[in-house]
């Protein structure tokens, strides 16, 4: 058997955005149904299930009538689904299972059937961060940015330009939540959420889901899957601190660096090979860190790179081409959507299609620079 593992099915829920009539669990199942249909497979083809903590892989498998031979409940934030893909590739290569369903569903906005947002007063967060008036990621994930700005010279205007660039992609994307073009001035005039971050530099909060079907190339060919396969050419994962105050250097993410180095090395690619890039963007500074930590630009260069339009439509490194978490959708654990857009681009079926995409890279962030996974995906057989 060859070592080639492919993404044979990929789909989002029918709708994303504000879905008060669907529970998080329903969104998982809807994503699963759509991904299986996309692959042209049925539930009995699946023998592995991976998803995050709630509802978890047992419930997803049971609800779908799947008898799993392999489970992965890795739950390390919004990048978890990239971890699942990496783990599924290894499991399929090792013969532990042959076809894995990775599901995401989250009622991030409507909170229907969603787990409570509670942290114990005795947890690390509860003892050493929450008492200082943190209010979710907007007041914590963002706390690194002023240090980065001081050390690299990133300007407020450059930070705002991340939102501007991504809105240009969202403008071309009918499913994106926010599609009106904006200027740097508009971003800086939006209300302050947590200085230096304005509303338009913070991600959306939405409902939605999606799923992937992963199998060996040989099995996909034997079963005659519907869509051209997307090859998983390399992957990497790492983690750093469970609470952001303990991140070792506020100007660079160790797990971004290490997961990307591992993925690039396994795929044997260099930065010049990459046609398309997705970097998890919960807040505008995250793609700035990602561009530098992955090595696409030098230290302190990412702000100018984005502001000059190199990641925008027509630019030399198209990035976050669905509009990203800032403009497309952000259910809370956005990683599934970053992968979906990468796959659409590689299949040539994206709304804002970039011509000639053969190699894409996805960087997923988990928590607040807590964990990261990177995937190198391609549409050509390695």
């Amino acid at each position: 058997m060859s070592a080639d593992v492919v993404i044979a099915g990929a789909a989002e829920t029918d709708e994303i955005g504000r879905l008060p009539d669907r529970s998080a669990f329903q969104l998982h199942l809807e994503g699963a149904r759509n991904a299986l249909a996309d692959a042209g497979l049925v539930k009995d083809d699946v023998d592995g299930v991976a998803t995050v903590g709630t509802p978890g892989p047992v419930q997803v498998a049971h609800a779908l009538g799947i008898t799993p031979a392999w489970l992965d409940g890795t739950s390390v934030g919004g990048a978890s689904f990239l971890f699942h893909v990496r783990h599924a590739v290894a499991a399929i290569r090792a013969g532990l299972c042959h076809t894995v369903l990775v599901t995401h569903g989250e009622s991030g906005r409507s909170r229907v059937g969603a787990p409570p947002r509670a942290f114990g007063r005795d947890s690390l967060l509860g003892q050493f961060e929450l008492p200082y008036g943190t209010m979710g990621p907007a007041t914590m994930f963002t706390v690194t940015a002023l240090r980065y700005m001081k050390e690299t010279g990133l300007t407020h205007e450059q930070l705002a330009s991340v939102a501007v660039a991504q809105r240009r992609w969202a403008h071309l994307t009918p499913r994106a939540a926010m599609r009106d073009l904006v200027t740097v001035e508009d971003v800086l005039a939006s209300r302050l959420v947590a200085y230096p971050f304005h509303l338009l530099e913070c991600c959306l909060v939405t409902d939605g889901g999606g799923a992937l079907v992963i199998t060996s190339r040989e099995r996909a060919e034997a079963r005659g899957t519907r869509k051209p396969p997307v090859y998983v050419l390399g992957s990497g994962e790492s983690a750093e601190s469970p609470i952001i105050s303990q991140m070792e250097d506020f100007t660079t993410s160790r797990s971004f660096r290490l997961s990307s180095q591992a993925a690039f090395a396994e795929a044997k690619i260099t930065h010049g090979d990459v046609d398309h890039l997705m970097i998890y963007d919960a807040f505008a500074h995250v793609p700035i860190y990602g561009l530098e930590d992955m090595g696409f630009v030098g230290r302190g260069e990412a702000g100018a790179f984005v502001a000059e339009g190199h990641t925008s439509p027509g630019g030399r490194l198209p990035m976050n081409t669905n509009g990203g978490g800032l403009s497309y959708t952000h259910t809370g654990m956005y990683g599934m959507f970053a992968m979906q857009e990468s796959i659409r681009q590689l299949r040539g079926e994206a709304a804002a299609q970039v011509p000639g995409v053969e190699l894409g890279v996805v960087l997923g962030n988990g928590g607040m620079f807590m964990s990261a996974a990177t995937l190198v995906l391609g549409n050509r057989r390695p």
């Binding site: 114990g120 007063r121 005795d122 690390l124 509860g126 003892q127 050493f128 961060e129 929450l130 008492p131 200082y132 008036g133 943190t134 209010m135 907007a138 007041t139 914590m140 963002t142 706390v143 690194t144 940015a145 002023l146 240090r147 001081k150 209300r191 302050l192 959420v193 947590a194 200085y195 230096p196 971050f197 609470i243 952001i244 105050s245 303990q246 506020f250």
Partner: protein, 146 residues
């Protein structure tokens, strides 16, 4: 609740110590900032845990530190957490103690504006009672304090 009745003030979040963090909270209650130091590699570390993250040794001690720090980074929150609604925007900061460890805190005793809050400015610890514990907060220090 009927109209016109005063609403009860929403309390700020109160941390609940665990066995490995209790010495830290005992310190703040005594007006001291205590962190751990590794007896093997002599480096300080924070948050409290029984193993040195630098060298892996379990031979560690609690020490009282100077309380002198500098401002490493911050945000000014415009979305008040429960209990934080009255004082206007507030600074959620990460400070670096002169012993090299960092912790999240609030900056007090100064105007909460980007102009007043300069990165690397000197700070010193103060303690605020909160429920049954005391929290370490930081206020500007004179340069001479360093």
């Amino acid at each position: 609740m009927s109209a016109g009745q005063p609403t009860e003030a929403v309390p700020k979040a109160v941390p609940e110590p665990t066995p490995e963090t209790q010495p830290f909270w005992d310190g703040t209650a005594a007006g001291e900032l205590r962190v751990q130091r590794c007896l093997a590699c002599t480096r300080h570390y924070f948050y409290p845990r029984p193993v040195c993250p630098h060298c892996g040794a379990s031979d560690v001690e609690w020490v009282t530190v100077s309380g002198r720090a500098s401002l490493y980074s911050y945000v000014i929150s415009h979305r008040p957490a429960p209990g934080f609604g009255d004082g206007g925007p507030y600074a959620i900061a990460v400070v670096e103690l002169e012993e090299g460890v960092r912790m999240m805190t609030n900056i007090v005793g100064t105007e909460i504006t980007p102009d007043a809050l300069r990165l690397d400015m000197p700070l010193r610890v103060v303690f605020e009672p909160r429920g049954d514990v005391h929290l370490p907060l930081f206020e500007p220090a004179d340069e001479g304090d360093r």
